[in-house]
Symmetry: C2
Subunit: 499 residues, 2 copies
């Protein structure tokens, strides 16, 4: 089937496997659901995406960024509430012992399970609708809580978990981190790293992963004196919002809302939330995810994580998966620090000199899923033209290589000159390619989103100029080799955050 007739998802997933963007891991062993490998191209785009996030969410705000372990001892996740709360409701077949996520199984037979439904409610739905095991047709035993954390054992018999979020590695270290910021609030601490969620049986390919990379900030503030940024520029922005109220009325789109108006109406629990939403708007723009294709959805009380007093999801509209969460913005209050105080017995409160009070800091947490953002930016960058040409119009600063360098002909003098130019451009990440026709080389580079191609042609030998070709338009211009570094640096410069 020609690419123009296929779903974008299918074209992208085929391209991703063929060109080293991503694919399901361990295929030679039949695969493991929810595990993905990023190839050379996917890794580089993701790495640049992470670097851009650091620029927007860490450096531009002078936040800390740290690295804490993946493995945590059990008391950490008792204190955080995850051991009891971070669960899915599940059903197990009495005969064949197959386990299913209850809401998924029931929705497949046309029964809608409301968010937050109790175990008893699920048992009633199963009994009333006579739902049987799809594998063997037998009855289910009672619904139960399926723990979403991976368990392990540390040393001799100490239970541990793989972190489901990087946040607890920040909360447990708060006392030191506070000192490292010279004991002052507000304090932002970021972390990027792998997190783990042991879904019963994940579907949705690259979207629902058991292991993925999270980029998050735990932002600590005094709820009495630090309720928003001093610079009020963010108040003048508009953001696309779907409120809880709208959802309760059955509306499911988005409304463009002026931040100042929403703040004045008391819509946000504190002003750090809208500030981070505006910063995210600016980040999504830098990823090439267009306006109108994402929204900030306020989660209903029944949908909220156990630690969140207010929670917004940033959702991007994807062809196959609809509105898909790519980031969350949780007002965690003092829930986590207080939990660790209670279980560890350590005092996590800090002294605020302006109010002469001790306070347990409150937390707002912007948290981003790197692989989902990667997928979203790829889907929005995928262009399929009428003639079957496929290319990724990835922003230049996120592309897997900065520039291609090609000899027009695969002849020794052309190749030698091209290698010389590639070496001259060694401050950039260069894709050197001298095999096949020049047309095929352009097409290969376009497919993985390399934004610029420098071609050494006959004229190069007489005047030291080359052609510079632009991926999206296929336009070419002549440029001297000497001016390439400056011109490329300009073309590859990263945008700056709006606020």
């Amino acid at each position: 089937m020609p690419a123009t007739k296929q779903k974008k998802t299918d074209v992208l997933i085929e391209l991703a496997k063929r060109r080293g963007i991503f694919w399901p891991s361990y295929e030679i062993y039949g695969g493991v659901k929810g595990l993905l490998t990023l190839g050379n191209v996917g890794f580089e785009i993701k790495r640049r995406l992470e670097n851009l996030w650091i620029k927007y969410f860490v450096y531009s705000r002078n936040f800390q960024i740290i690295e804490s372990p993946v493995i945590g001892p059990r008391p950490v996740y008792v204190a955080s509430g995850h051991e009891t709360q971070f669960t899915d409701k599940a059903l197990k077949c009495e005969k064949c012992c197959s386990v299913f996520r209850a809401d998924h199984l029931l929705s497949e037979v046309g029964i809608n399970v409301p968010e937050g439904a109790s175990l008893e409610h699920i048992d009633e739905l199963v009994a009333h609708n006579k739902v049987k095991c799809p594998n063997c047709g037998e009855n289910f035993s009672k619904a139960f809580q399926w723990l979403l954390m991976f368990k392990t054992e540390i040393g001799v018999g100490d239970p541990g978990y793989l972190r489901p979020e990087t946040a607890q590695g920040i909360f447990t270290e708060f006392k030191r981190l506070y000192v490292h910021s010279r004991s002052s609030l507000p304090l932002g601490v970021a972390q990027i790293g792998k997190v783990f969620r042991n879904e019963v049986s994940p579907r949705q390919g690259p979207i629902r992963l058991r292991e993925f990379t999270i980029m998050e900030v735990e932002f600590f503030f005094d709820p009495e004196t630090n309720t928003g940024p001093l610079d009020e520029k963010y108040l003048e922005e508009t953001i696309p919002v779907l409120t809880a109220e709208d959802q309760e009325k059955g509306f499911s789109g988005l409304r463009s809302v002026k931040v100042r108006d929403a703040v004045e109406k008391g819509f946000f629990s504190n002003n750090w939330i809208p500030f981070f939403l505006v910063l995210t708007k600016s980040f999504l723009k830098a990823l090439g995810i267009p306006d109108g294709s994402y929204r900030f959805r306020e989660k209903l009380p029944s949908e909220r994580a156990h630690y969140a007093k207010q929670l917004f999801d940033c959702e991007v509209l994807l062809e196959s998966w609809g509105w898909t969460e790519v980031a969350g913005f949780a007002y965690r209050t003092d829930y986590d620090l207080s939990g660790h105080m209670r279980v560890s017995g350590e005092d996590m409160s800090v002294f605020i000199s302006s109010t002469n009070k001790k306070v347990v800091p409150h937390v707002v947490e912007p948290s981003f899923g790197a692989e989902r953002l990667l997928y979203a930016l790829l889907e929005y960058s995928l262009k399929i033209e009428e003639d079957g040409r496929i290319y990724l119009s990835i922003p230049s600063y996120l592309s897997p290589f900065d520039v291609s360098v090609f000899p027009l002909l695969s002849k020794p003098d052309f190749i030698a000159k091209a290698k010389e130019v590639a070496s001259y451009l060694s401050d950039f990440k260069v894709n050197f390619d001298d095999s096949g026709s020049i047309g095929r080389r352009y097409a290969r580079a376009d497919e993985i989103g390399i934004p610029f191609a420098v071609t050494i042609d006959h004229q190069t030998f007489s005047d030291d100029t080359v052609t510079l070709r632009f991926r999206d338009t296929k336009e070419q211009k002549r440029i001297s080799i000497a001016s390439l570094p400056t011109e490329l640096a300009r073309l590859l410069s990263t945008p700056k955050p709006l606020v």
Copy 2:
């Protein structure tokens, strides 16, 4: 005790906790041995170290770099041999059930356990020397193999392991990776990521970790036609080597060896090994680890990992831990690919057109421990002067900030001008600090190794010049604000690999 009288290790570990370099994780819960948190300063140095490694070991060689999951299903680690071979010998007390690593326990009571000693041999040593449990004084049951992998369960009942190396995430995907490199050898595939080793009870603080970051290349080649690099520049270099033969004679230092001579004597299994040793020499130089403080030690047959036909460790001399492994260079042959072929049934051989043969590629693996390299570079960069001044003379391109920007005085006009300069330098990572005396600010910046400080003083207001101060010498020079970006870019430029 003044810093000049203390051990470097103690000064460094105190500094690391106080200034956000690294510290033991989860202290509020009593800590977990072998888990480390990197603070803001440590994370940034490590991140730059990783970027430098990518430059040397990936980009400069046009290798791939990928990201595969931490979790692997059991068959992967059956095929790789880890499930049976990746073990320590352990002893368990019959009464109190304490478990000890056998060689550590015996060495503490003065008994040397030879590398590769059998379980029976350990039982004999325990019996003959009447070794008892140090905790309760009772007898040990028979020695047993302690599995060094962390176990977990994927979904419903599928056993899995946390990877002890990133390598298997490359071997299992070899068929795709080979296609992504247009089906040609040699092929280098790199990966940086967390790995996990469930030591019984690790000691040695920041050196012996249960969770750490590995940076490795699996380099695939045809053992008949690709036995070394075409560019023979590496043959002219010398490297510090301690051979197996020397060790058997009781020599324990290092000898400077010309690579060409060693190659001609047939010392290396193939020429990719010495090539990577030379590249590593160049990398260690870039980290500021001086000649004479590291060596390449050939491991004795009894010490080699189960997959290695020849193995070199790169060891750095550390004050408290002696010669410490920071990297390994293993000739893994076709051990891993053949193992996966056997267990998965998938053909991993490739067709070599020049010899008209199918071959299972052989592998050389350079593998680096990021946290140990970080520790080593910190120890070698730590300077303690007679007057008590402490600073880290980290290479500029690895330092946690590129430059400090200070107002000489904490007055509004100085602060405003300093902020303006900081903003002008937004392409750099700037440490802005306006609190306390200028002397204290210099000292704080020196302690975390910031190489340069720009100070806005009285003269700045008349001629737009500032002082540029150099960390190691404390020298200052005047420079115009306009020329700062170019001058800093020059001072911060990263070196290039030697080969």
